[in-house]
């Protein structure tokens, strides 16, 4: 009694660390604390473990071991990729990205724009998709890098990165993909892909926070960002986060093992949640291309209801979700992603993101489906615009 059960459906924000990951990491906090750079065998065994961890991460991506550079997470990987390439090509002053990127890329590009770089931000359509002709037209002789996300954190919309990459590579430009929301959720194979650089973050797929990686295709021209010792073959200085690396490797192994589950059961739960919600309320719409989406993400807007209020009411029921509404972001405008997609303000303010993981169960979905409708109805009652919606209810 008393303890509120948590229904966690905010997995695009962060995930629960898998018990197997914790178990794999544990010895590297306790008895196996050596420094992999040491000459003695106590440290040397750690270097061997890192080598096998690197191989496991590479395997999930279809990459070679030497193409994996461990970092502190998604933001560092994105910064490393973009700044590292710009530094290699000091004469190239143009960057191409999209309007819906994560802030790790967008805010970096905004800063670079103040330092004399020119930044092209590609638009998306109502479903969140890019126009490939616009991609092609944006490329210039002085374009240093094209940075595009694999899957969007808010809507789950997947960009056709291989097709985009071919367009980019035809011009010999470096192609970076922010894969933070895709790795572990959908199959990725970088072998023979046009992707030069790909960022990933451990805590988005059941590894701990503070560990990530940048895939650097062999031959990619990039300068290191962290300068110091000769770690990561000179590409990222700093003593390795050994437990994090071991945990990331285990999470990659598990992601491979559970990929089928993600694509079937998790997707099924997401679809049931979405379908039931859509059929229940007329004022509901799904944001983003429903065909090309990560299987775990649903971004649903409830018109004439404000998103933060929905989240606070859900929170009272032990349900943890997220919103693109203005109020939750700390800014005063709704999410840049929904605005770029042209989602009407009436709907953007009332968006709720449910992002699932393999730890969710059918009981979780049942719980949301029973708690959500009365919350929406209550908030419509409070809203001055709600009466019409309630009257028009299906």
């Amino acid at each position: 009694m008393g303890e509120k059960k948590l229904v966690y459906v905010d997995n695009n924000a962060t995930t629960r660390v898998d018990d197997e990951v914790i178990e794999a990491m544990r010895p590297y906090f306790t008895e196996l604390y050596g420094n992999p750079s040491s000459i003695h065998s106590f440290g040397g065994q750690i270097a061997k473990k890192i080598a096998s961890a690197r191989a496991q991460v590479a395997e999930l991506l279809g990459a070679q071991d030497t193409e994996i550079v461990f970092t502190s997470g998604g933001t560092e990987s994105d910064n490393f990729a973009i700044k590292g390439v710009l530094e290699y090509f000091p004469d190239r002053r143009h960057i191409v990205t999209t309007k819906v990127e994560h802030h790790a890329v967008l805010n970096l590009c905004d800063k670079l724009a103040t330092e004399g770089y020119q930044v092209t931000k590609l638009s998306v359509d109502r479903k969140g998709n890019l126009d490939l002709d616009e991609v092609r037209d944006s490329l210039r002789d002085d374009t240093a890098i094209v940075s595009v996300m694999y899957a969007n954190n808010e809507t789950g919309v997947i960009f056709p990165v291989d097709t985009i990459g071919q367009i980019v590579k035809e011009r010999g430009i470096t192609f970076h993909v922010d894969g933070v929301q895709a790795v572990g959720k959908i199959p990725i194979n970088l072998k023979d892909s046009p992707i030069d650089l790909l960022s990933l973050s451990g805590h988005k797929f059941h590894a701990p926070k503070g560990i990530g990686a940048l895939y650097v295709k062999r031959g990619t021209r990039i300068r290191p960002m962290m300068i110091g010792g000769h770690h990561e073959r000179g590409r990222r200085a700093g003593t390795e986060n050994v437990p994090g690396i071991v945990g990331l490797a285990k999470a990659c192994e598990l992601a491979k093992r559970f990929m089928e589950d993600e694509l079937t059961r998790v997707r099924g739960m997401r679809d049931r949640l979405e379908q039931s919600t859509l059929s229940r309320f007329k004022n509901t719409l799904v944001n983003g291309d429903r065909e090309h989406r990560t299987p775990n993400t649903s971004n649903t807007s409830f018109e004439y209801v404000e998103g933060e209020a929905i989240l606070l009411y859900l929170d009272e029921k032990g349900i943890a979700a997220s919103s693109g509404s203005a109020c939750t972001s700390g800014s005063l405008e709704p999410s840049h992603v929904l605005r770029a997609m042209g989602v009407p303000f009436t709907a953007a303010h009332g968006s709720v993101r449910f992002s699932l993981s393999r730890f969710n169960t059918d009981a979780d979905i049942d719980c949301i489906l029973s708690e959500l409708p009365p919350i929406i109805e209550r908030l419509l009652e409070i809203s001055p615009f709600g009466r019409e919606v309630l009257q028009a209810k299906v």
Partner: protein, 283 residues
Amino acid sequence: MWDYTDKVKDHYMNPRNVGEINDADAVGEVGNIVCGDALKLSLKIDKKDERIMDAKFQTFGCGSAIASSSALTEMIRGKTLSEAEQITNQDIADYLGGLPQEKMHCSVMGREALEAAIARYRGKEVVREEEEGKLVCQCFGVTDKKIEKVIRENNLTTVEQVTNYTKAGGGCGACIPKIEDILKEIRGKKEGEPAEKKAAPRKGLTNIQKMQLIQETIVKSIRPQLQRDGGDIELIDIDGPRVLIALRGMCANCVAAEATIKGQVEARLREFVDENIIVEEVK
């Protein structure tokens, strides 16, 4: 996650007085759905003593917007209109045990709805804010009048605060320099205030105290005004009740120098230091 007080939580989870009064005597509507919050306040007013008999609200907005509206209705029920008019947005926030700074605009919205309703009741045509004053923030439709008012009422000093209280500057940010100008203007006026408010002439000053006070009055209360006109003033000597000064810059050759000396310098020094002071100009 916002750090909402228990009282805020209580008021958004269990809002008081939700709804519409069918035969309302006054209705105040503020905000709009594009900006992310809107409030419709309806009042039932006893015509005899202008007492608010009932107040109901409908709000589209976040938790703190709902809580601020709910709190407002609780605060004004049973009050006369003139009592209700005294309620500030800070009072609404205080009633809730405080609001996060970024959410203060919710309390401002409550106060505005009340103003709109009372104006409507009194038969005043509610002037839409956009028409009253110049539009400063295009993103959220905030005018200079509203910004000035909220700055004064809440004693705001930074652009960030203005954004928290009015939303102005929270969109594209293009109007931030304008907000800075408004702040500067209002703060500039304020800086002159302390000297002016200072106590009337003091009796029984020692000579040193008197000299210091004359010096201080010139520096704080007289010089800034002259400098604004491109001039300056210098204290040369004090001889009993006689204060010898020199005017510099534009003031030195000003045809109104005599008026400046008598009207500004002497008047100020008599007001702040000693009623018997005589100011003389030294060329």
